[in-house]
């Protein structure tokens, strides 16, 4: 009687346990199904949205990249070629008479022009035309003095805010390193300056106060066309066509970005000559150093077998 009741209790317990595990399994699988359907739904909606977006997306158009500038035959292109310094001199004139109205040249000092494009006395005169802050006088009042060779070329605006205010919110970039700072370098600068079409391509709408230039990424640039034929009068009598001025000012700005260019090529040539001659010398010396080793002879004389 006692043993039977225990048995029956045991049976009922195991049955109950089995039941509970079965119900746990069904709950788990229902959870899994929910998860899978959820993930699938999310995936389908995400891909659907992406597809819908792709129908209207216009990122990475040709206009956004800007037209690539062609490669021009610059005087400094060859491995041993230098800048055309007459062109740098004309380019400075173009910068001074045209670009300097808006663009600064903060990192170029007057002294660096000496011996590059102008003589010492010429640069001194050019610097003296501008006023710089001097030490205050005995009463602490600010004073001005004429520029010296050691001064940097003055900027047209005192600060960025003033520059933006004068140009409808657009900041004219500093030109000291502009050739290094733009894809295409001098080619880009030249193309940008000469590349203003008479009309924007049909269907292009430009923001107010901007101009169309295909080389400028996006096409709409705040700077208008500035170079026109016979805008400046060159002192050496070169006809001042738009492309001539663009070439000269690109050459000048390239020199501003890489004032070490000519010297760098000279040093490179020297280094190549010296290092290659030292290398050949070392090959020659090696012959003598190794002569004894290369000409020695190993002989093996086996011991005579004992009889």
């Amino acid at each position: 009687m006692f043993s039977r009741s225990i048995l029956s209790r045991m049976v009922s317990k195991t049955a109950a346990r089995q039941l509970s595990t079965v119900s746990g399994n069904t709950a788990k699988s229902a959870n899994n199904k929910l998860l899978i359907t959820g993930a699938a739904l999310a995936g389908i909606t995400a891909s659907g949205l992406l597809y819908a977006e792709s129908l209207t997306a216009n990122a990475m158009t040709a206009a956004e990249h800007g037209l690539h500038s062609p490669e021009f035959d610059w005087p400094q292109n060859g491995p041993f070629s230098t800048f055309d310094h007459a062109s740098i001199r004309r380019g400075y004139q173009v910068y001074r008479e045209v670009c300097a109205a808006c663009h600064s040249l903060d990192r170029v000092a007057w002294r660096t022009l000496v011996g590059v494009s102008h003589t010492n006395s010429e640069v001194k005169e050019m610097a003296e035309e501008f006023e710089y802050d001097d030490e205050p006088d005995d009463n602490g009042n600010p004073k001005k003095r004429p520029g010296k060779l050691a001064d940097y070329i003055p900027a047209p605006y005192p600060n960025e805010q003033a520059a933006r205010a004068a140009n409808q919110g657009a900041l004219p970039p500093d030109l000291s390193l502009i050739v290094k700072a733009r894809h295409g370098g001098s080619d880009y600068i030249f193309s940008l300056l000469t590349g203003y079409p008479e009309d924007a391509p049909e269907g292009v709408t430009l923001p107010v106060g901007s101009n169309y230039n295909p080389y400028f990424p996006g096409g709409s640039i705040a700077m208008g066309r500035v170079l026109f034929d016979d805008l400046v009068e060159y002192e050496d009598g070169t006809p001042a066509t738009t492309s001539q001025m663009a070439k000269d000012v690109s050459q000048f700005l390239n020199w501003c970005s890489e004032p070490e260019h000519d010297e760098r090529k000279r040093q490179g040539l020297k280094a190549i000559i010296i290092l290659s001659s030292l290398y050949l010398l070392s090959v020659w010396v090696k012959k003598f150093k190794w002569a004894s080793i290369k000409t020695r002879k190993f002989t093996y004389t086996p011991p005579k077998p004992r009889k």
Binding site: S87, S243, K247
Partner: protein
């Protein structure tokens, strides 16, 4: 999403619909006429001034080559098409407006690659 797909299909359809193509020819002719007149005016002006930009001269030469003419024709065709679209009602509300930047780039790229290698021989 459905509406955008429908729009897309319509866009594709628009490109093949012949109505636009028929109307193009008329506009093109008038356009060409205007441009020729403009060119003549420019030439006269510049002859008087005597100095003419070397790059512009080279580009004009390049424009007269077979390929230049073909690309200019492509651009003109596009410009005429877009102008026609502009005249139609509801243009301002269009979601996607066609422009001729690509045709313009193809033409300019050809002119550049044609004129650029010869330009610096003509400059000092």
């Amino acid at each position: 999403m459905l509406s955008t797909i429908v729009d897309y299909i319509e866009e594709i359809k628009d490109q093949f619909v012949p109505i636009v193509a028929r109307a193009e020819d008329e506009v093109e002719e008038t356009n060409d006429g205007e441009e020729e007149e403009d060119d003549d005016d420019d030439d006269e002006d510049e002859d008087e001034e005597e100095t003419k930009d070397q790059y512009d001269e080279l580009k004009e030469e390049c424009l007269q080559t077979e390929k230049g003419k073909a690309l200019k024709h492509h651009y003109d065709e596009c410009a005429a098409r877009v102008q026609l679209q502009k005249e139609q009602p509801g243009y301002d509300d269009l979601e996607n407006k066609e422009d001729c930047v690509e045709e313009f780039f193809h033409l300019q790229h050809y002119l550049d690659s044609c004129a650029a290698p010869r330009l610096f021989n003509k400059l000092k």
